[in-house]
Point group: C2
């Protein structure tokens, strides 16, 4: 029996599904194994040490599937554990922070880049470091927007309340003379239209989810690891919390990218 | 004496300077060694076998500098020689076709992608192959635009004549229901504004030069090869034709990306 080597995607919960969805769209031949640590979500308020430990546990689980690449599809986990995991495993590891940074450097004309994310991600300074590593000539302004993730998790993508909340959350960064804004949280692509309205059409929005999928494509090509078959891959989903709830969100979020109800496995022996 | 490991960029002539310029902008810490085969330009009308042979000669020359990556910044040479060179050398090799293809797959919403390039590039079907390798769900329409390179080489970036020529050249592809258009020739970014006017604002233009620079950034990060110093790198330029003419074009095209007249070396022992 032929088992297709998969792209392993891990997240603190459901946010990383935006990355999975983009991988399905950009690389429809690739099989995905998704792991959402829904029992321990959110990672944002946890210590960096604990996030690193949780991430390592999940990687230890996923590595048994012999994945072709491991994607840390969570900004908090990327900030806390990317370099540690890269040094640990013998498989390419991709986080969500650097792809967004590289895309912003490409997109900016003025060199003034904005970043929004969770308190943990913005507090870590990881985007600023990634941007400054590439170019000393960029100015970075960043802002934590803790009010946005709850909106997405409640499914409130477009409403008057959403516009008001996004407008309040972006208050400070809205007045800054930036020409592009990195959506530094995997939940935010769901609010893209509202964020664009609030920021104005002249500010280019960078989705770290889209950019990460793009870079998975680049890395797999470089490693000669792109799937070539024409069969529809069967994706696998693992979560640590309630599998029924996870299955519902997955079905709703992935929409047209999956043809039937996703198979979800619950894993409970992690910690 | 510390010699910074460089990004080696090769082209049939001056077109690849658009890639070099973007690398300087996106990765200002990186040193570039540029090779323009100006005595044998253009490669377009040559046989694939000869283009492969010329590309190999240049790679044999450049590899002596111990580059961190080799960039084939010419669509014709990428189509003819990329896989051959990738198999031959022990250094990452990046062409200009796949980065554009990956960016288009990310950008498209309808799955209908247009490509324009030289007769050689379009005739090789390399973009269609690269796009179809990633996704079977895209429709690709392509058109050779032989009239555009001469416009750029004459420096006619914006004029009534330019608009008319571009409009004529894009005639067929203009009526197609595409939502993005790959500029599959390194000369075309100079005509971006005119092409955008002719195609209309709703068609997203993909510059293979910009996207290649972005992917060099991705690959160098993955290989842990990004430069970290804060000194201004001293780029080196080699050409096989008249060095004075090459120096003038380099100065004019690179503009603000270089602070002084570039050092150009003429190489005459290649064939």
């Amino acid at each position: 029996m032929f088992v297709q080597q998969a792209i392993a995607i891990l997240d603190s919960g459901v946010g990383g599904l935006t990355v999975a969805k983009e991988v399905m769209r950009q690389l429809p031949r690739e099989k995905i194994i998704y792991f959402g640590d829904t029992a321990r979500t959110p990672y944002g308020p946890r210590s960096s040490e604990q996030v690193k430990q949780f991430t390592e546990q999940i990687v230890d689980f996923l590595i048994q599937f012999n994945p072709k690449v491991i994607v840390i599809a969570c900004n908090t986990a990327t900030a806390a554990a990317l370099e540690y995991i890269r040094a640990k495993v013998n498989v390419p590891v991709i986080g969500v922070i650097h792809p967004g940074a590289r895309a912003a450097i490409m997109a900016t004309r003025t060199g003034r880049i904005g970043v929004i994310g969770t308190v943990g991600t913005i507090g870590s300074g990881a985007y600023t470091s990634a941007l400054k590593q590439l170019s000393p000539y960029v100015d970075v302004v960043s802002q934590a927007c803790p009010a946005l993730v709850p909106l997405v998790e409640q499914g409130e993508f477009r409403s008057e309340h959403t516009t008001h909340t996004v407008d309040q959350a972006l208050g400070e960064i809205k007045g800054q003379p930036i020409d592009c804004l990195i959506l530094g949280c995997t939940h935010y692509p769901f609010l893209m239209d509202t964020i664009q309205d609030v920021m104005g059409q002249e500010v280019k929005l960078i989705s770290s989810a889209d950019e990460t999928a793009r870079e998975i494509s680049t890395i797999l090509y470089d490693k000669r690891k792109l799937a070539s078959g024409d069969e529809t891959p069967v994706h696998q989903f693992f979560c640590t919390g309630d599998p029924r709830m996870f299955q519902n969100i997955t079905k709703q979020w992935l929409g047209e990218q999956i043809s039937k109800t996703p198979v979800v496995w619950q894993v409970t022996q992690l910690s």
